[in-house]
């Protein structure tokens, strides 16, 4: 084979195979989204029920032994957390528009929105973590964090569509913090048959605990209700004798956030406001993690491609090095 041909063959094979993998992996070996665990637990947050009392924020901090985020004068003991941080795993945010006249109205209105881990069905943080420090419980669907394995590369933060995992930057020996649905070692409320602290204290049932299945059914039921009529809203744990209160049915957006987004989530949100207005990310149905894994597993299946490449390279290099020596010897004779 001529040198020039060899050049072309080698380079095009390398680049070509990478490109081919890119294109073919879209259909041939696609891993697809992970499916919800049959008995996954979750929460349903109904923005229209939330009164912004932040009892859930307070209860969350108590369960996780986290201090309130103080206002600037530092005298106030109320929690002034504006967003998730390594000290705030659950936060209530406000949507504001125009003159703020009516609650749950998109124009000239306001609404509340909860931010906490969505406990994705196909979690990006679990997929990207090199050391399995993020884990997805196959039964409960809860996404947990394990500091003993974590190296602090913070890929989980980058790989989370919702910016949920938060690193303790201010601590020289910090770790990642995220909501673990009150089932972390030492708390284990779910394993003990309980519910999350935020759902437990919510006075209106805006945060409702339960299995993903029954929460999804409840959300769909609310979508079908007639606005203006009265509905008996459950509070606490949907699957275990919830208490109820009556309230007028609002005009819901026909969208259950977490049913499909990036493979779905175990924490579902419903609202009267479009979710992009509430700060939810622009997600497609297919999870990015599943695409990344498809590409990676196509390239590295059984390490076959790298092994073949190494053998080919070693052979070529050995052959060309010998030729090289011959050339050198000829050169010396001149």
């Amino acid at each position: 084979m001529k040198r020039r041909d060899f050049l072309k063959t080698t380079l095009t094979t390398t680049l070509g195979s990478t490109a081919a993998v890119g294109i073919s992996s879209q259909s041939v070996m696609a891993r697809g989204n992970l499916k919800p665990a049959p008995d996954a637990v979750g929460m349903l947050y109904d923005s229209t029920l939330c009164v912004g009392c932040k009892a859930c924020v307070s209860a969350c901090k108590k369960t996780n032994n986290m201090p309130p985020v103080q206002a600037k004068n530092k005298k106030d003991t109320a929690d002034f957390a504006r967003d998730l941080s390594s000290k705030t795993l659950n936060v209530i945010k406000v949507y504001r528009n125009g003159n703020l006249a009516v609650k749950d109205r998109q124009i000239n209105g306001f609404a509340f929105e909860k931010r906490s881990c969505m406990h994705c069905v196909d979690p990006g943080c679990v997929s990207v973590c090199p050391v399995t420090a993020m884990r997805h419980n196959p039964i409960t669907g809860i996404v947990t964090y394990h500091a003993d394995a974590c190296i602090g590369c913070r890929n989980c933060m980058v790989g989370c569509p919702y910016n949920v995992p938060q690193f303790e930057y201010e601590n020289p020996f910090g770790q990642i913090q995220k909501c673990q649905m009150c089932n972390q070692a030492g708390v284990e409320k779910i394993d003990k048959g309980g519910m999350t602290s935020c759902a437990e204290v919510c006075p209106t049932g805006a945060t409702l605990f339960g299995s993903r299945k029954s929460l999804m059914a409840e959300a769909k039921k609310r979508m079908a209700l007639k606005p203006g009529e009265v509905y008996n809203y459950p509070r606490g744990n949907l699957d275990k004798k919830p208490s109820h209160h009556e309230k007028e049915i609002p005009i819901y957006k026909k969208h259950i956030w977490g049913e499909k987004e990036a493979g779905g989530t175990n924490v579902l949100h419903i609202s009267s406001i479009d979710f992009d207005k509430l700060g939810m990310p622009p997600l497609k149905d297919r999870s990015s993690a599943s695409v990344a894994e498809t590409v990676q597993h196509t390239l590295y299946q059984y390490m076959a491609l790298p092994a073949v490449a190494l053998a080919g390279l070693a052979f070529t290099v050995a052959k060309n090095s010998n030729n090289d020596k011959d050339n050198d010897n000829k050169g010396d004779k001149k």
Binding site: T18, G22, G152, L283, V291, A292, L310, A314
Partner: protein
């Protein structure tokens, strides 16, 4: 006849002392990072958890260190020794660049004291692109050390070890080509899982590994030309443009494939509107594309290919182009969500500049003490 020689002259000079002082300032802030935590010195936050320490020191720094990779490809796979004189300086620069990328990844780790967890197989998550990057970069640093070892062994006269090393050289070089192909493409794959946070003009999903690999090769060849010019000035010799002429032809193809793949993806994904919006992101895209196109136009002319200054301009353009592509994708146009912004703090910048200074100082010391640069006797 020609040989490798140490560059004559003193090590200590005014520029060297300037680099030394920048390095010391950087180390002061790096010490603060370890004592008080990353929040003390950096502007990293919940949305931007990767700042310049990851994006410059690791993602771009390793690409700038691809000279050894690009040359190993050229020399051993398809040109049979023609570029030999360039190999040693390129391998040294790669070793220093990758060494610092590894160090950068280490001090950026939030839980650096358990860094070894990534080397323990029971922790491995085979779905993780980061695992591939971490293991593969580490392995490549060792391979580079072995590739550079002959310069050191020649200096101390360890002929026995040299012989053993030369016998294994074919395997070392083969790994030296395979490993960067793997982790440089994986650096691109890191962007896939970042999904919507990556701007549509840079989110090529399945083509991320290909585009990253192409920029690594383009930057690798460019740094070889760049270092060749440096070495020519050092020895007060004429630039060996005849060596670069054929490299240029390879680069032309790489640039063409890159630009075609890039635009095809954007058209295929229906993102032309983002390109024509003329906001900051679209302007960054245009600047980046210009930096890829100008060297292509320069190199397409055979007359330019044998002119040292033109080659150098093309090389500098491509180094900037590749760096900007990676900066844009990972940092400049990244949108993690409302309420997050990032600009590196002065200490963060000083740490990075300090490490670049260290790299330059180490390069100067080593080329002046070890037989690295190639001297053509006449």
């Amino acid at each position: 006849m020609s040989t490798h020689k140490a560059l004559p002259g003193r090590i200590l000079s005014l520029p060297f002392l300037v680099f030394l002082s920048i390095f010391l300032v950087g180390m002061y802030f790096l010490m603060q990072r370890f004592v008080f935590g990353m929040g003390e010195v950096s502007n990293l936050n919940g949305g931007f958890s990767w700042g310049i320490w990851v994006v410059y020191d690791v993602v771009i720094g390793s690409a700038l260190a691809c000279g050894g990779y690009a040359l190993a490809f050229t020399v051993y796979v398809f040109n049979k020794g023609k570029y030999h004189p360039l190999v040693r300086p390129a391998v040294l620069a790669s070793l220093l660049g990758y060494g610092l990328a590894g160090f950068g990844a280490f001090f950026d780790m939030g839980r650096w004291w358990q860094f070894y967890n990534i080397f323990l197989p029971n922790n491995w998550n085979f779905n993780s692109v980061m695992l591939e990057v971490g293991l593969c970069v580490t392995a490549y640093i060792f391979v580079l050390a072995l590739e550079f070892a002959p310069a050191f062994l020649e200096k101390i006269g360890a002929k026995g070890l040299l012989k053993v090393l030369n016998k294994l050289l074919f395997l070392i070089v083969a790994l030296g080509i395979l490993l960067p192909t793997m982790h440089q493409s994986s650096l691109g794959s890191l962007l896939i899982a970042m999904g919507h946070k990556v701007h549509p003009l840079w989110q090529s999903m399945h083509l991320q590994p290909l585009l990253a690999l192409l920029t690594a090769l383009i930057m690798g060849f460019s740094i070889v030309i760049f270092e060749g010019s440096f070495s020519a000035v050092g020895f007060k010799e004429k630039l060996q443009t005849h060596l670069f002429k054929n490299l240029s032809k390879v680069i032309i193809w790489l640039l063409l494939i890159f630009l075609v793949a890039r635009f095809a993806t954007i058209i295929f994904q229906g993102n032309i509107s983002h390109l024509l919006s003329f906001d900051t992101n679209s302007l960054l895209f245009i600047l980046e594309t210009a930096l890829f196109t100008v060297p292509l136009l320069i190199l397409l002319s055979p007359a330019n290919r044998s002119q040292g200054s033109r080659l150098l301009i093309a090389a500098v353009c491509m180094l900037l182009a590749g760096s900007l592509y990676r900066f844009n994708a990972f940092l400049f146009t990244l949108n993690p969500g409302v309420g997050y912004s990032y600009f590196p703090s002065a200490p963060e910048i000083m740490v990075t500049l300090g490490l670049i200074s260290f790299e330059i100082m180490a390069y100067i010391v080593l080329v002046r003490t070890l037989p690295v640069l190639h001297h053509e006797k006449t």
